[in-house]
C-alpha cells in the first residue's frame, strides 16, 4: 500500500504545483499592492477607495468594489496612463480569480426577484388604457402633472408619487371621461370651427423640397382638430387662387388622417376662391386634416423684384379648413357607448347594469371582480336611480368610480411572506404594460384566467402577438424615447442664428427617423445589432437633404438603403447627434457620455464634487476644441474618465450640432481619429462604428439592462446581474433578435416573481 500511495502522490505532485489554485493572497493582493496601492491606500483613499486588505475575508465584505476593479483593469482605465501597469499574466490571474470569486458569491446568495413597488399608471399608460379598454381617445393625461423619472424611465413605481393635485385631476378626468362615454346631456348642436392657414409660412416655401421653408409642399396646409363626439361632420376645404390668369386648373386633394377624401379642381376664377365640402362620420378625438396640390405643381413665378432674395408669393394655396358639426348628433351611435352598454339581459335593468359593471371592471382592473366588488359598484347605480336619474346616469357613475379606484390607477400585486411566482393574471398585466404600455386585451386576459398563460408555448405565442400588434409602438415612444433620450429632441433648441436649417419640419423628420427605425426592429424582429450598424434608415426629402442623400422626395418618411459609411446605425441619426449637443456647438463629452451610458452600459461616475465639470464651451476661438480638451486631460484625475469619454465624442466630431456631416469646425479641420484606453484605435467615425459593432455583446447587455429596468419599473440591483447576463446570452444565441430579448426578459426570475415582504397592517378608514 505504501508504495502505491507514494507513487500516486509523486505522480500528482507536479500537477498540483503547476495548478496551485490562485488565492486572493497570490493573485490579487500583489497586483493591488504594487499597482494600485500608491493611490488607493488607507491614507490617500483616491476616489474614496482603499484596496489595502489584509485578507480575502476582509476584501470581500463589500464585493461590489471588485466588480468595478475588474472592469477598470480589463478596459485599461486603471492604472492611469503613465503609471506602471500589471503584466498580461498578472492581469489575467487577478481578473480570473476575482471573476470566479464574484460568480461563486452570486450563486451562493439566495435568489432575489427584487422589490417592485405598486405602479401608478403614468400619463402614457393612463391614456392608452382608456383608449384600449373604453375605446375613447380621451387625451386626459396631458393635463396631469408630468411623471418624474428614475433610472432613466418614467414608469418606476417608487418615483411615481400621487400628489393631492393629481388625485384631484384623476377625479376630474374620471368625470369627463364618463360623461364623454355616456352622453347624458342634450345632443350637441352643430358648431363651426375655422382653422386658418398661416399665409406667411406657406409663402416661405419656394421649391417642393426647399429645405428651410415651410415643411409641407407649396400651398399645402395641415391642421389637427379635436372632434367632440362620434358623429357626422361637414369637412370643408377652401382654396384661394391669386394667379392672374387662373391657369392651369390645379386640383387639390383633401385628406383626413392620411385617407384621401377626394380631389377637386379650383375653377372659380371670378371669386378667386374654391370651396369643397365632404360629410363624414368621424370618431371623437383628435384627427388630422390635410390639403395639398400635386407634387408636380410648382409655382414658377418670379420673386419680388423689389426685395432681392425674397421668396415669391404663393399664388395658390389652401386657405382654411372648416369643421361643421356634429350633424344630427345621436349619442347612442357612438361605438364606445355601444361597446360599453352591450349586455344580454333586458336592456336598462339592474341585471344589465351588474353585467356592465363586472365586464368593464374586469377590463379596467385587469382581473375578474369579486362579487362583493361588483355589488359595491352597483350601489352607485342604485343611488342614481333612487335620485330619479336614468339607467345611463347610473352606469356613468359606476364608470366614474372605477376610473378613480386605486384598483385601476395602480397596478397592485398583493404581498406574501415569501418570494412567490406571479399569478397568470398578474403576469398578463406586467406583459401588457411592458409591450403595449396598456391593459391586457381580451385574448391575453382570458389566457391568463384559464391558466394557459403559464404554458411556455402559449406565453411565447402571446409575446409574438403583442409585439406584432400596432400597440407595441408604445415601446418606441416610451422605451426608446427614454432609452435613446429621443424625447429630449422635442425641447432641443439649436441656436437659430447658427443653425437656421433647423426648423419644426426637420425636428419632426429626425424624430420620425429614429422612431420608425426602432419600430422596425420590434415588428420585424430584427437583431438589436441593427442599432449599431444598420445600413438602412428612414428619410423624407427634408432629412435626405440634410444628410446629402439624393433621390428622396416628398415629406413622407420611407425606408432608404444607405451605402455610405458615415450613416450607419442609430448613433449617426441626426436626432441623437442633436440631443447630445449644446445649442451652439457639439460636445464630445456629452456624446461620449451618451454612448457609454446608453449603448455600452458603462457610464463613468459623475465628476467629483470639488472639480467643476470640464469646461468645453470656451472653444473654437484660438485652438481646436480637441487641443483644448487634450490639455485638460493632462490632469490625471480628469484623464481617468475623460480618456474613455472624449475619444468617442471626437469620433463623432464630423457631425455638427444638428447632425450634418462636416469636415471643418469653424476654421479648424476635424480630426476624428482616436485611441481607446483598451488600446484599440480608429481613424474616423466609420472606424469607430466598426469597433462599436465588434462590441455588440457589451451593447446587448447594456440594452438588456435598460429594457429590464423598463419592464420591471424598478432600478436594477446587484442581484439582478445574473438575470441580465442570461437575457443577453439568450439574445446572442438567438441571432441577437429583439424578440429573443423580450422573451428572455419575460422568462426571467425578476419578471416572473415577487419578493416576499412583511405585510403592512391594515389601516381601517374611520
Amino acid at each position: 500500500m505504501i508504495p502505491w500511495l507514494g507513487v500516486k502522490w509523486i505522480a500528482l505532485l507536479p500537477a498540483v504545483l503547476l495548478a496551485a489554485p490562485d488565492t486572493f493572497e497570490t493573485a490579487v493582493a500583489p497586483v493591488t499592492t504594487r499597482y494600485c496601492g500608491a493611490c488607493h491606500n488607507a491614507k490617500a483613499r483616491a476616489g474614496n477607495l482603499n484596496l489595502a486588505f489584509s485578507s480575502a475575508r476582509e476584501a470581500f465584505v463589500d464585493p461590489e468594489i471588485w466588480e468595478e476593479v475588474v472592469a477598470k483593469l480589463a478596459n485599461g482605465q486603471m492604472p492611469p496612463k503613465g503609471l506602471p501597469r500589471p503584466t498580461g499574466a498578472e492581469l489575467r490571474a487577478a481578473t480570473s480569480y476575482l471573476t470566479a470569486e464574484l460568480t461563486r458569491l452570486a450563486r451562493s446568495r439566495k435568489p432575489d426577484p427584487g422589490r417592485v413597488t405598486a405602479r401608478r399608471l403614468n400619463r402614457a399608460e393612463y391614456d392608452a388604457t382608456i383608449r384600449d379598454v373604453l375605446g375613447l381617445e380621451a387625451d386626459a393625461a396631458s393635463g396631469f402633472p408630468a411623471d418624474d423619472a428614475g433610472y432613466g424611465f418614467d414608469n418606476i413605481g417608487d418615483v411615481l408619487s400621487l400628489s393631492p393635485l393629481l388625485m384631484e385631476k384623476y377625479l376630474a378626468a374620471a368625470d369627463r371621461i364618463s360623461r364623454q362615454l355616456i352622453w347624458t346631456g342634450p345632443a350637441l348642436r352643430p358648431t363651426l370651427h375655422r382653422i386658418l392657414s398661416n399665409r406667411e409660412e406657406q409663402a416661405r416655401r419656394v421649391q417642393p423640397d426647399d429645405p428651410d421653408g415651410y415643411p409641407y409642399p407649396p400651398g399645402a396646409f395641415e391642421a389637427r382638430h379635436r372632434f367632440p363626439v362620434d358623429a357626422e361632420y361637414s369637412l370643408i376645404i377652401k382654396v384661394t387662387d391669386r394667379r392672374a390668369d387662373k391657369t392651369p386648373i390645379v386640383p387639390v386633394s383633401f385628406f383626413l388622417d392620411g385617407e384621401k377624401l377626394g380631389t377637386f379642381n379650383v375653377q372659380d376664377g371670378e371669386y378667386q376662391q374654391g370651396e369643397w365640402e365632404v360629410r363624414r362620420f368621424v370618431a371623437a378625438g383628435e384627427h388630422t386634416l390635410y390639403g395639398a396640390f400635386p407634387d408636380d405643381y410648382i409655382q414658377s413665378g418670379p420673386r419680388d423684384p423689389q426685395i432681392p432674395g425674397s421668396p415669391i408669393e404663393r399664388r395658390i394655396f389652401v386657405d382654411l379648413f372648416e369643421v361643421r358639426g356634429p350633424n344630427n348628433h345621436d349619442p347612442s351611435r357612438s361605438s364606445a357607448y355601444q361597446r360599453l352598454m352591450r349586455c344580454d339581459s333586458d336592456p336598462a335593468t339592474e341585471d344589465c347594469a351588474r353585467k356592465i359593471a363586472a365586464r368593464t371592471g374586469r377590463a379596467l382592473y385587469r382581473r375578474p371582480l369579486e362579487a362583493a366588488e361588483t355589488d359595491r359598484l352597483l350601489n352607485l347605480y342604485r343611488l342614481a336611480r333612487t335620485q330619479g336619474d336614468s339607467f345611463d346616469h347610473g352606469v356613468q357613475l359606476m364608470v366614474k368610480a372605477m376610473l378613480v379606484s386605486p384598483q385601476f390607477l395602480f397596478r397592485v400585486e398583493p404581498a406574501s411572506r415569501d418570494n412567490r411566482s406571479l399569478t397568470p393574471v398578474e403576469l398578463a398585466s406586467r406583459l401588457a404594460y411592458f409591450l403595449w404600455g396598456s391593459a391586457p386585451d381580451e385574448p391575453l386576459l382570458s389566457a391568463a384566467e384559464t391558466g394557459r398563460l403559464a404554458e411556455t408555448a402559449v406565453l411565447d405565442a402571446e409575446i409574438k402577438r403583442l409585439l406584432a400588434d400596432p400597440r407595441s409602438g408604445s415601446l418606441a415612444g416610451n422605451f426608446a424615447g427614454q432609452w435613446l433620450q429621443l424625447r429630449n429632441l422635442k425641447t432641443a433648441q439649436p441656436d437659430p442664428a447658427r443653425f437656421p436649417a433647423f426648423n419644426e419640419g426637420l425636428r419632426e423628420a429626425m424624430m420620425a427617423e429614429t422612431r420608425l427605425f426602432f419600430e422596425n426592429v420590434v415588428r420585424e424582429d430584427r437583431p438589436v445589432t441593427d442599432f449599431l450598424d444598420a445600413n438602412y434608415t428612414y428619410l423624407n426629402a427634408r432629412l435626405a437633404r440634410h444628410y446629402g442623400v439624393e433621390g428622396v422626395s416628398g415629406r413622407q418618411m420611407r425606408r432608404v438603403e444607405l451605402n455610405r459609411p458615415e450613416r450607419r446605425g442609430v448613433l449617426t441619426h441626426a436626432s441623437i447627434l442633436t440631443i447630445s449637443s449644446y445649442p451652439t456647438r457639439t460636445s464630445p463629452v456629452l456624446r461620449g457620455l451618451w454612448v457609454l451610458d446608453n449603448f455600452l452600459g458603462a457610464p463613468p461616475p459623475p465628476p467629483p464634487g470639488d472639480v467643476p465639470p470640464l469646461d468645453e464651451q470656451k472653444i473654437g476661438l484660438d485652438a481646436p476644441l480637441r487641443k483644448q480638451l487634450e490639455q485638460h486631460r493632462a490632469n490625471a484625475a480628469c484623464a481617468v474618465c475623460h480618456d474613455r469619454i472624449d475619444p468617442i465624442g471626437f469620433a463623432l466630431e464630423n457631425y455638427d450640432p444638428i447632425g450634418r456631416w462636416r469636415s471643418q469646425d469653424g476654421k479648424f479641420p476635424i480630426d476624428a481619429a482616436g485611441n481607446l484606453p483598451d488600446g484599440r484605435s480608429f481613424q474616423d467615425a466609420a472606424g469607430f462604428m466598426k469597433i462599436l459593432a465588434a462590441d455588440r455583446d457589451a451593447f446587448t447587455r447594456a440594452l438588456a439592462g435598460k429594457l429590464l429596468t423598463y419592464a420591471l419599473g424598478r432600478g436594477l440591483e446587484r442581484y439582478d446581474r445574473e438575470a441580465v447576463d442570461s437575457i443577453a446570452e439568450a439574445t446572442r444565441r438567438d441571432g441577437y433578435r429583439f424578440g429573443a430579448m423580450v422573451r428572455a426578459i419575460v422568462q426571467s426570475m425578476p419578471f416572473r416573481m415577487r419578493r416576499g415582504e412583511i405585510i403592512a397592517k391594515g389601516q381601517e378608514r374611520q
Binding site: A118, P145, G152, L165, Q493
Partner: protein
C-alpha cells in the same frame, strides 16, 4: 408646424357668461369671493425659485459686497443714483426698494454633498424649502423633508379651497439622468407634502385657470350641484374603502403609495365638506380680471407673467394662501434667444470666470428678476381689504445655489418682498453659515404657524425689525 405665438389675453371673455366653477367644488364658490373693502386680510406666501444660481456681485446690493463674518449688519437699499447700489440684476426691483429685504450670509448646509458626492443641482432644489438633505437615489425610496410652504399649507389649508398651488415654467419631460444619480423628482419640485411626496408643479396656465375657476361646463342649477356633491361623496366613499381594503394586503412600500392616495381623497372630501357648509352663504361668484389663457406660451416672459397672474388671482379670490413657482427646473438648460442668449443656461453657468458667459448669465438673472418685478407690481396694484395685495403677501425669491460655477450653497441669493411686518428697504448681512431655515421659521410665525424647528434650523432669524 411652427408653433404660433399664443396671445396671453386670449379667449373666453367675449361670450358674456360668468365663468363656472371647477367640477370638484361643484360645489359653489365656497371661499371664492373677493375681500370686502376695508376688511382685515390674511397674510399669503408666494415663493419664486430660479435655477442654476445667480451672478452674486451683480445681485448683492450695497457698496461693499461680502458678508462680515461674525456679526449681523444692515444697510439701506435705494434707487439707482442714490447713495446705495442697486446692482444690475436687482435694478428692475428699484421701484419696490421700500417693500424689499435682501439677505446675505444665509446657507443651506443640507444642499451640500455631505459625503454624497456630486448632485448639487438636485440637492439645491430639494433642500431649498425643506432645509433637509435629500436621500441620494435614482428612484428607490426617495426621501426629503416637508417643505416650509407645505407646513403652512397643512396648517392653514382648510381655510381656503386649495391648500396650496405649485406652479412651474418648465416641463419636466426631460429624460436621462437629472443630476448625478438623483431622481428627477428632486430637481423638478420645490414643494414636498411629506417626506416622500413631492408636489410636481403645474406648467400650463390654462389648466391652472381651469382649476381655479372651472372649465365653464359645470352645472349652474343649485339642485344639480347638490346632487353632484352627493354623487362625488359616494364615489369617494367607495374608492376610499377600496384603498383601505387593498392596503391590508400590501407590503410597506406599496402601502405608502396607497397612503398618498388616501391623503388625496381626504383632502378632496374636506373641500366637499367646506363647500357644503357654505353652500347656503350665497356669495357672488368671483369674476377673474384676467381671461382664460389658451395654453403654454412659447416665450418665457409671457409664460412667467401668466403664472404670476394666476397667483394674483388665486390670492385675490381667497382660493389659497400659499403658492410656489419654479421659474425653471433646477439644472435647467433653457435658452433665452429673445434676450440674446441662445446658449443653454446650465451649461453656461460653468463659466470659469469668462466675462462673455458671465454677461449672458447676468442677462438671464436680470430677466428673471424683471418678471418678479411684474409680479410685485401686480400685487401692489391690486386692492385687498384694508390695503394692497402686496401688503398681505410675503414674496420669497431665491435660488438654492449661489455661485452656479462652483455649486456653492452658502451666502445664497434670497430676497423677501411684501407683507409680514418687517423693517423693509434694507440689505441684511448675517454671519456666515446662518441656516436659511431660520428665516423660514420667522416667515411661518408671521403666517400664524409656529413650528419649533424646520430642517436644520437653529432658531429664529434675528434683526428683521431692528438694526
Amino acid at each position: 408646424m411652427t408653433p404660433r405665438k399664443l396671445n396671453r389675453r386670449a379667449v373666453l371673455r367675449g361670450v358674456g357668461t360668468i365663468i363656472g366653477l371647477p367640477f370638484l367644488d361643484a360645489m359653489v364658490p365656497a371661499f371664492g369671493s373677493p375681500a370686502r373693502e376695508g376688511s382685515k386680510q390674511p397674510l399669503r406666501l408666494a415663493v419664486a425659485y430660479v435655477p442654476n444660481g445667480i451672478i452674486m456681485d451683480q445681485w448683492t446690493p450695497g457698496e461693499a459686497p461680502g458678508a462680515t463674518p461674525g456679526e449681523a449688519n444692515a444697510e439701506a437699499i435705494g434707487e439707482r443714483g442714490s447713495a446705495f447700489r442697486m446692482p444690475r440684476i436687482m435694478e428692475p426691483l428699484a421701484p419696490f426698494h421700500n417693500d424689499l429685504v435682501v439677505f446675505s450670509g444665509l446657507t443651506h448646509n443640507n444642499g451640500r454633498a455631505l459625503k454624497d458626492g456630486p448632485g448639487d443641482h438636485a440637492r439645491a432644489a430639494a433642500s431649498f424649502l425643506t432645509g433637509v438633505h435629500p436621500r441620494k437615489t435614482a428612484g428607490a425610496d426617495i426621501q426629503n423633508g416637508v417643505s416650509f410652504d407645505q407646513v403652512a399649507a397643512q396648517a392653514l389649508g382648510k381655510q381656503t379651497r386649495f391648500a396650496s398651488l405649485e406652479l412651474g415654467c418648465e416641463q419636466a419631460g426631460i429624460v436621462g439622468n437629472c443630476d448625478s444619480g438623483y431622481s428627477c423628482a428632486y430637481s423638478n419640485s420645490l414643494a414636498w407634502r411629506s417626506e416622500t411626496t413631492p408636489l410636481p408643479p403645474e406648467v400650463n396656465p390654462r389648466l391652472v385657470f381651469e382649476r381655479l375657476f372651472g372649465t365653464g361646463d359645470e352645472p349652474r342649477d343649485p339642485a344639480q350641484r347638490e346632487k353632484q356633491r352627493l354623487y362625488n361623496r359616494s364615489v369617494l366613499d367607495l374608492v376610499g374603502q377600496d384603498a383601505a381594503r387593498l392596503a391590508s394586503r400590501l407590503g410597506t412600500s406599496d402601502k405608502r403609495k396607497l397612503d398618498e392616495y388616501l391623503t388625496g381623497i381626504r383632502e378632496i372630501e374636506t373641500r366637499l365638506d367646506a363647500a357644503e357648509k357654505r353652500a347656503r352663504d350665497d356669495k357672488p361668484d368671483f369674476v377673474p380680471s384676467v381671461d382664460k389663457p389658451s395654453g403654454i406660451p412659447v416665450e418665457f416672459q409671457e409664460h412667467a407673467r401668466l403664472m404670476f397672474d394666476m397667483q394674483v388671482l388665486a390670492f385675490q379670490a381667497g382660493l389659497t394662501r400659499v403658492a410656489t413657482l419654479m421659474l425653471g427646473r433646477e439644472g435647467s438648460n433653457r435658452t433665452y434667444p429673445e434676450i440674446g442668449v441662445p446658449d443653454a443656461h446650465h451649461g453656461m453657468t460653468h463659466h470659469k470666470g469668462e466675462p462673455e458667459k458671465i454677461e449672458k448669465i447676468t442677462k438671464i438673472n436680470r430677466y428673471h428678476v424683471e418678471q418678479l418685478a411684474y409680479f410685485l407690481d401686480r400685487l401692489k396694484s391690486t386692492r385687498d381689504g384694508d390695503g394692497t395685495l402686496l401688503e398681505h403677501t410675503m414674496v420669497l425669491y431665491g435660488s438654492g445655489l449661489a455661485d452656479g460655477n462652483r455649486h456653492t450653497h452658502h451666502d445664497l441669493p434670497v430676497a423677501v418682498a411684501g407683507g409680514g411686518a418687517w423693517k423693509k428697504g434694507r440689505h441684511l448681512r448675517y454671519p456666515v453659515e446662518t441656516p436659511l431655515t431660520n428665516l423660514f421659521l420667522v416667515m411661518l410665525d408671521r403666517m400664524g404657524v409656529r413650528p419649533e424647528t424646520l430642517g436644520d434650523s437653529t432658531g429664529r432669524l434675528e434683526h428683521l425689525t431692528d438694526l
